[in-house]
Symmetry: C2
Subunit: 420 residues, 2 copies
C-alpha cells in the first residue's frame, strides 16, 4: 500500500483552542504512521498549499506538539482566503493538486468554519475529478458557534467562558461604583451574524435580576426607544445597568447600530463600534455616566481562561479527523454530539460536507427571552456545559508559557510559483 502524507491547514479567524485540534491531528497521525506519512502544515492556511509553503511538523518534538493544547492563535498561520468555484478559477485547484501530488499528499485536513467546509468539499470533489483522489476531512472551528449539524463548535466554549467571566467581573466593578459615578457599562462582543457569544454573557447572572441586565442579539431588531427605556428602568431598580452587545446588533431594516454615527473626523467608516454608539445614545437620552469595553481579539485568544470542555473537544475533533481518514472516509466533517444535558456528556459523530457547507446556525428564538433582552433557561441549559471546567496553561515568570514551534519549511519541489 502506498503510504501518503497529510496536509493540515488552519482557516479563518483563529481561536484559543484551534492549536489543540492541530495537536490532535499530529499526535493521531504519528500513532497511525503505518498509514499516514508526514503531516505537512500549510503556512498561513490554504495559501501555504497554493504557494508550496509547507511546514514539516515531523521536526517538532512531542513536547512542543503537546504544548499546542494550551497555546492560542494559529501555530502555522491562518488566512482569510476563500477558494472560488472550479469554473471561476480552475488554475487554483490545479495548482493545489499539483502541490499535493508533488509531496505525495493523500489526506487533506481543513480546520475552519463554514467557508472552509465548502472549500474542503470542493477540494475532495475536484481532486477526484482530476484523477488524484484526496481524502478530505473537515475539522470544525469557529468562535461564532454557527456551524450546522454539530452541537457546538470548538473555539466557542472558551470565548463564552471569557465573556461570561468578564461580564461577571466588570459587573462587580460597576456595582461598587454606581452610587457616585458610572451607571452604565457596555461590553461589545463578537458575532456578526449570530448571537451565541452575546448570549454567553448571560451566564454571568446567577439569579433573576443579576447583571447583565440587557443583551443585544443580531437576531432581535434593535429599538432605541425600548433599549433606553430598559436602561432607565434597570438603573431605577438596581442603581446601574450592564449591557452585553453583539457587534452584529442591528435595526429591523438590517442597518448596523454603529452605522449611523461611526464616521470620525477623517471620514473613516471602520472607527466606532456598537458599544460607543450605544453609550452615546444613553448619554444623550439620560445623561448617565458610562463606561464601555471592546474585547476584540482578547476574547478569542484568551487561552488563559479557556473552557476545559472546549479544549477537550478541540483536541478530540482533530484526533477523530485522522481516525476517519484512516478508516477511508472523505468529504465529512467531524461533529460534536450532545448525549445528555442534565449530566453533560458528549461524543463525536460525522456529517457529510454537502450538508454543512455555507450554512449558518443562528440562535433559536426559544433561547431569547420574550422581551428580546435576555437568555432563557433553555439557552442556559445549552450554554452552561460548554464553559465548564478549567484548563489553566502553565505559567512562567507570571505569564502563560505558550509554545513557539520551529516551523521548518519543506524544500519546494515545483519549479513555478503560484501567482494567485
Amino acid at each position: 500500500m502506498d503510504k501518503k502524507n497529510a496536509f493540515y491547514a488552519q482557516s479563518g479567524g483563529v481561536t484559543a483552542v484551534i492549536n489543540a485540534s492541530a495537536a490532535g491531528v499530529i499526535e493521531a497521525a504519528r500513532e497511525n504512521s503505518a498509514t499516514i506519512g508526514t503531516v505537512y502544515a500549510g503556512l498561513n492556511g490554504i495559501v501555504g498549499a497554493l504557494q508550496e509553503d509547507l511546514i514539516d511538523t515531523s521536526k517538532e518534538s512531542s513536547v512542543d506538539v503537546a504544548a499546542l493544547k494550551h497555546t492560542p492563535g494559529g501555530a502555522f498561520g491562518s488566512c482569510r482566503y476563500k477558494m472560488k468555484s472550479y469554473d471561476d478559477s480552475p488554475l487554483e485547484y490545479e495548482r493545489l493538486i499539483a502541490v499535493f501530488k508533488a509531496h505525495n499528499i493523500g489526506y487533506f485536513f481543513y480546520n475552519g468554519g463554514g467557508d472552509s467546509a465548502d472549500t474542503c468539499l470542493k477540494v475532495s470533489q475536484i481532486a477526484e475529478k482530476m484523477g488524484y483522489p484526496i481524502q478530505a476531512i473537515h475539522i470544525p472551528k469557529t468562535i461564532d458557534n454557527d456551524l450546522p449539524l454539530t452541537d457546538c463548535s470548538p473555539g466557542f466554549g472558551s470565548v463564552a467562558k471569557y465573556i461570561a467571566t468578564s461580564t461577571r467581573e466588570a459587573s462587580l466593578d460597576i456595582a461598587s461604583m454606581c452610587a457616585t459615578s458610572t451607571k452604565v457599562f457596555i461590553l461589545e462582543v463578537m458575532g456578526r451574524h449570530a448571537g451565541w457569544i452575546a448570549a454567553s454573557g448571560g451566564l454571568a447572572a446567577e439569579k433573576t435580576g443579576d447583571a447583565p441586565h440587557i443583551i443585544l442579539f443580531p437576531e432581535i431588531p434593535f429599538s432605541r426607544e425600548k433599549f433606553i427605556s430598559k436602561v432607565e428602568q434597570t438603573i431605577s431598580e438596581k442603581g446601574y445597568c450592564v449591557v452585553v452587545a453583539s457587534e452584529g446588533a442591528q435595526y429591523s431594516d438590517g442597518a448596523h447600530i454603529s452605522g449611523s454615527i461611526n464616521k470620525d473626523a477623517f471620514g473613516h467608516q471602520q472607527l466606532g463600534g456598537v458599544a460607543p454608539t450605544l453609550a452615546s445614545m444613553i448619554k444623550q437620552s439620560t445623561g448617565y455616566k458610562y463606561h464601555w469595553a471592546l474585547a476584540d481579539y482578547l476574547q478569542r485568544s484568551a487561552r488563559h481562561i479557556a473552557s476545559k470542555t472546549d479544549v477537550d473537544q478541540a483536541y478530540a475533533v482533530g484526533r477523530r479527523a485522522v481516525e476517519l481518514a484512516v478508516q477511508g472516509k472523505s468529504s465529512v466533517m467531524v461533529s460534536i454530539e450532545r448525549d445528555s444535558t442534565e449530566e453533560y456528556s458528549w461524543s463525536l459523530g460525522e456529517v457529510p460536507l454537502e450538508k454543512v457547507a455555507n450554512m449558518e446556525k443562528k440562535m433559536p428564538r426559544s433561547f431569547i427571552t420574550k422581551d428580546g433582552f435576555g437568555i432563557t433557561q433553555t439557552a442556559r441549559d445549552y450554554l452552561q456545559p460548554l464553559i465548564s471546567g478549567e484548563d489553566h496553561p502553565p505559567y512562567k515568570n507570571g505569564l502563560p508559557d505558550y509554545v513557539q514551534l520551529k516551523n521548518v519549511m519543506v524544500p519546494k519541489k515545483l519549479k513555478n510559483s503560484f501567482e494567485g
Copy 2:
C-alpha cells in the same frame, strides 16, 4: 480601657484585589478583639460615613470574609467623592465626627489612592482638633501604581498581569492572521497620568523584537510622524505590529491623542478613545487593516488572572493597618518595600501621610527606551516580580465563584440626615 469600633471604607476606582485588603482588615481586627470592637464598613465608601450608612461586618461569616480574598470589585461599594478642606466644608467633617462618636468609632481605615490619603490625613487632623481623636491609617490601593513612597500599589500587579497576558495572547492571534488580513492591533489601557499599566504590556515580549512593538506612554510626547514610521518599519520587518497605548498618551502640548477626533455625530466628547484614533491614523497613512481593543473595567476587575504577589500584598497591607492601629499609630500609610529584586522579596513599612498625600509617581525616564516606544531592562526588573504567581479563584459551573456579602446595615443613631 475604652474599646473602640473601627470604620473601614473603600475609595475611588475598585480593583481585583481591594477586597483582599478588606479581608485583611476584618480578620486582623477579629484577632485583636481585645482592642478593636466591630469593624463597620462604609456603604459606598466615605459617603456611607457621612450618611450614617454603616455595614456591620461582624454579621459576615469567616468563610465569606476569607472569600473576599478572591472576589474583585468593592464588596461594600466605593465612591468617587473628594472631601473638601475643613475651611471650605466644616459641616462635612463635623458630620463625620458626629457619626464616629455615635458609633464609638476610634479607628479609621481608608483604602484608596492619593486623594484618599489626603482625606485620611485631614480626618486625623480635624478629629484631633475637635477633641475626638481618631487613629487614621491609610491602606494603599490603585491600579495606576502612582502612589509615592511605596514600591508598588496593591491593584497594579493584577492589572499588569492581565495586560501582559492579553497582549501576549492577542499578539499570537494577529501573528497568525497578518499574511492575508489584519496587520495592526492596538490595545488601549488605563493610566491617565502615568504609564505603569502601558509599560506592563511590554512584559509580553520574551526577547527583542517580540510583540508589543510599540508602547505609548503619557510620559513621552506623541509624534504622529514617528509613530506611523515605527508602525511601517515594524510591519515591513515582522509582517504585523502590536501597539499598547495608554489612554493618557498625549501630544507635547498636553492635548490628548483622542482629543482631535473624538466627536460623534451627536457632538459628544466622551466617545472615542486613543485606540480608535490611532487606528484611524494608521488607516489614513498606510491603509493597513487593523483591529483594536479597549479593555476598560475588564482590566481592573480581572480577578481570574490576578497576580499572587498582588493578592498577598493587598491582604498584608490590610492586616498591617490594623496592627499599626493596635500599636497606637496614626496618620500613616502602610507601604510595600522591595528588599531584593534579584530574588524578589518584600516587606511592609509605614510612611507619614503628610509625605504621601496628593503626590503622583510617574514612570522614571530610565524605564523607557531611548526611542520612547518600549521598556528597558530596568523596567522589566521592576515590573516582573509584581505579576508573579497565580492565585486562581475557585470555580463553580464554569465561572469564578465570587462572594456576595450579606451587608447588614447598622441601625442609625443620629436623628438628622446629611445633605452634603
